[in-house]
Symmetry: C2
């Protein structure tokens, strides 16, 4: 990748500010848990895997800023930071997953010394990041054989390098296909309200030399009707045990269109996106976001202040509409969650 979504210097988490793309490549330096909380909340860093990696480093910052006189003090600080960070965005399971993993490392260590504990945590956070990169590569490798040469692929939102520490999830499959010499064209749903498709997916595919065409979300139907889409690939923010998928609002619309037109619908996500606590999609908490994202996009007033707005950040696609879930561990076929290949 020509760019780096996030980087930890040892005392600072440097984030590529995704709210500023594609206009400018600007970085935000986070030195406290609160900095990271606000960066995640305001979508400076977004995408379930990248949020998990950022949360790991936020826990290092929490330990560095803790009362160092006792092991209990650090553990308390970690628990407090963890609860705080988990409240930041409720849908992505990777956030809680990374935080719990960091806390477990601290709990399971016998380290009493502050510096030792911080070092352990930094090592763990760097491991989460490294695993994330490896995960992306594996998703790309597992998904690539599903994509025919010359395919035109529709994607929604950004499940790319910008959503991970590596080459992405949904877009990893496309990058892997390109690396295998396949010619791939991409249609990118703009993804209202925050335009991650137009702002981020188009930008990163252009950086990597892949032909991309942006469309309004509601124009996807006419592309399917014209037979122009060979496959859909999207990411996931949370997957339940039965294979239902929470992903960016609008994903379900695309899945219904794909089913109607007999087009394969793939979800690409790390194994860590699977929430083993939840049986099916209706149990997934859906984050509702501010009305202004819809009626004051980019500061432009498109409806009167006080207008009622329905603005869920995610929707749920039931497993029956999913051709396969591509994870770093293999392919899972919709509904048959035990059918690993």
């Amino acid at each position: 990748m020509r760019f780096r979504t996030l980087e930890f210097t040892g005392s600072t988490l440097r984030l590529l500010d995704q709210t500023k793309l594609p206009r400018t490549e600007q970085f935000l330096d986070c030195t406290t848990v609160s900095d990271v909380f606000h960066a995640i909340r305001s979508l400076v860093v977004r995408g379930a895997p990248a949020i998990g990696v950022a949360a790991g480093y936020a826990m290092v910052l929490a330990a560095q800023g803790a009362d160092c006189r006792s092991r209990a003090g650090i553990l308390a600080a970690l628990n407090q930071a963890g609860d705080y960070l988990k409240s930041c965005r409720p849908t992505a399971v990777n956030l809680a997953w990374a935080i719990d993993r960091m806390i477990a490392v601290a709990n399971n260590s016998t380290a009493n010394n502050c510096g030792e504990l911080v070092t352990l945590l930094e090592t763990e956070a760097r491991a989460i990041e490294a695993e994330d990169r490896t995960m992306c590569e594996k998703i790309g490798a597992n998904g690539e054989p599903l994509i025919p040469d010359g395919a035109t692929i529709l994607t929604h939102c950004n499940a790319g390098a910008l959503a991970t520490a590596g080459i992405g999830t949904a877009l990893a499959v496309i990058y892997a296909a390109q690396a295998h010499g396949k010619k791939i064209r991409v249609y990118a749903d703009e993804t209202r309200p925050l335009w991650q498709g137009a702002r981020l997916t188009a930008w990163e595919l252009q950086q990597e030399g892949i032909e991309v065409t942006v469309l309004c979300d509601n124009a996807a139907g006419s592309l399917f009707a014209a037979g122009k889409i060979d496959a859909v690939i999207v990411g996931a923010d949370r997957i339940t045990k039965n294979g239902d998928v929470a992903n960016k609002i609008g994903t379900y619309n695309v899945a219904v269109l794909a089913e109607k037109h007999g087009v394969p619908f793939y979800v690409a996500a790390p194994q860590s996106t699977i929430d083993q606590q939840l049986i099916s999609g209706e149990q997934i908490p859906i984050e509702m976001r501010a009305p202004e994202e819809v009626i004051k996009p980019g500061g432009v007033i498109i409806a009167a202040e006080g207008t009622r707005v329905y603005n869920p950040a995610f929707d749920v696609t039931p497993n029956a509409l999913i051709t396969a879930i591509i994870t770093d561990e293999g392919l899972w076929h919709g509904g048959r969650w035990d059918g690993r290949t």
Copy 2:
């Protein structure tokens, strides 16, 4: 209605500038054919029926501005103005329909006197406007029985009073239901790229005291999945003989979602929207609009200049997905175009 979409003073066509709504209620005065052409092209006035009415008055302005020395001169001016106006927006059939009707009036009259011919044309244009108002009332009356008390209705784009000279087409049904004492709630798709749903439908329903909630187009699926939508009503820009419907881009997506969820999908449009020349939807010319509408919404840059964009203004919903077409002449059931009730 608390507002007036258009008004002809005898020498000026005064248009409520819909590109400025909901921020300000501003009027644009058109005194030449070119003024009206640009007003239609730039969507100051939009909606198939309103475009037809505006085109009728534009033909009056054409006659008023013509070389008055001969009948032939006026007829030539009308034909030239008609060709020019028809090129303005290719999809809405009402535009051509109104122009042809105005030209036929001139052709069929024996008037040699300029003033007499202009008067005839003004009378005809006013008749088109009056018929449009009556048409709206009839659509409302014909559609109202389909809407249960307490219904929650999804609509897309603006097929309201702002799209006609009267109370609208799709929204006429809602206004008629309200007038019958029914409690109706409306979800309005924002309707990218130009936000007619957020800017216009929400505004006019608020003016008329009807509860309306705005959503991004891609959030509609989750409303259907949650069982929150009882019916869909949309307008139409052109209907072919077999009952296929061209309407604002995204209409087809909604129709597919409605089918998937067993929700009735109604199209409300005047009889004049039916193009007797076309057998089925694939024959309808679809207007492609500028990339900037998508990637520079409201002046905000959301993708790099030069980014490839797919921006059709309309899509086609096949008759099989349409529960009924509500016209001023009655109800037509999808596919059975001869099944007038």
